[in-house]
Amino acid sequence: MSEPIGRIPPYLRTPPAGAAPAPPPPPIHHDAGHAGGDQVRQRPFVLTSGRVNAVDREIEFETQVTLRPYDPRTGRVPLASLGPEMQAMVALCQEPTSVAEISARLRLHLGVTKILVADLRAAGYLDVHVADTMSPHSPELILRVMRGLRAIS
């Protein structure tokens, strides 16, 4: 059973007007990789509510992720209502970042990272550049990489 791409998980949907405010979020660790040593380690897929397969199979290890500019016409849930891992992801993606790097820096399982990244895209926070890949069979691409490597000394 596959979920449609772009489905917004219930906890990311915009709350109805007048809904109780979200509890204050824990402080964001911009470098969560070195924080939280005293935290109890959860089973990795607790963070995804048990989902283990990324909705979008095109999200790869090296896929680039960037912050999506806020669009007032679509709106989105307040940042503070997101889980700490998701808030940390949003903070990390101020600069274009690969999925693998997000996983490593936030010490999240890669599979978990893919799912949360897809959730944040659905929620309007992140752009996932799945289409920005080049065929590894392009001679021009290979030559470009070779030229770049040759410049290393």
Binding site: E60, F61, Y70, A104, L110, H129, R144, V145, R147, I152
Partner: protein
């Protein structure tokens, strides 16, 4: 179409580079992470990912092999090629007794570098087998741990039973230019495979 920017959107959305990748494979402790560290512009990072293991070398009467999924740690680094292209290097974990199937990882890869410790040649057989079957361009790089190679490259090639079209080179995983040259061998092989696709592997 014009966008009304709110203060929240003050972030400059820089166009991300197009990512490309090369896989660095080999048995446990052959120098994969050293290889990545030598050339990466960031200290190697580690991510945990799922890998499908295929048990081999175990007596199995049935034709299908036993597959299990396991979480492994994987080291990676990156090199900025130019303003719009970034090369990622992924070190696949060393598995002595298991074959691996990591189709997710090799999908879209330019090629692979199989790092080999000459004193433990059999550690790299799985990787060589896998890339051969997957049709991914690869080169074998013999890591000269103490700066010298105990065997002749021809001898190693014979022992590995790789065909003449697979490049086999000696390199020093600790030296940046040596790693660079080994990666260039992989890319030359990739280019050759693209330009002469009909040639038998």
């Amino acid at each position: 179409m014009d966008y009304v920017r709110s203060p929240d959107a003050a972030v400059t959305t820089r166009r991300p580079p197009v990512p490309v990748k090369i896989i660095v494979a080999g048995g446990f402790g052959v120098g994969k992470t050293t290889t990545v560290r030598s050339i990466s512009e960031i200290a190697p990072l580690t991510t945990e990912a799922e890998m499908t293991e295929v048990s081999v070398g175990v007596d199995r009467t049935r034709s299908e092999s036993l597959k299990t999924t396991t979480t492994v740690a994987m080291d990676f680094g990156c090199v900025t090629i130019d303003h719009s292209l970034k090369l990622y290097l992924f070190g696949t974990p060393g598995q002595d007794r298991f074959g691996f199937m990591w189709d997710d990882l090799i999908n879209g890869a330019l090629g692979a570098l199989v790092v080999v410790d000459c004193s433990r040649l059999d550690d790299c057989f799985q990787a060589v087998d896998y890339f051969e079957r997957a049709g991914l361009p690869f080169a074998v790089a013999l890591n000269t741990f103490d700066g010298r190679l105990p065997y002749d490259i021809t001898e190693v090639r014979w022992a590995l039973a790789v065909n003449d079209r697979v490049p086999v080179v000696a390199f020093d995983a600790r030296t940046r230019t040596s790693v660079r040259d080994a990666l260039l061998v992989v890319l030359e092989k990739a280019l050759d495979q693209v330009l002469h696709p009909a040639a038998p592997r």
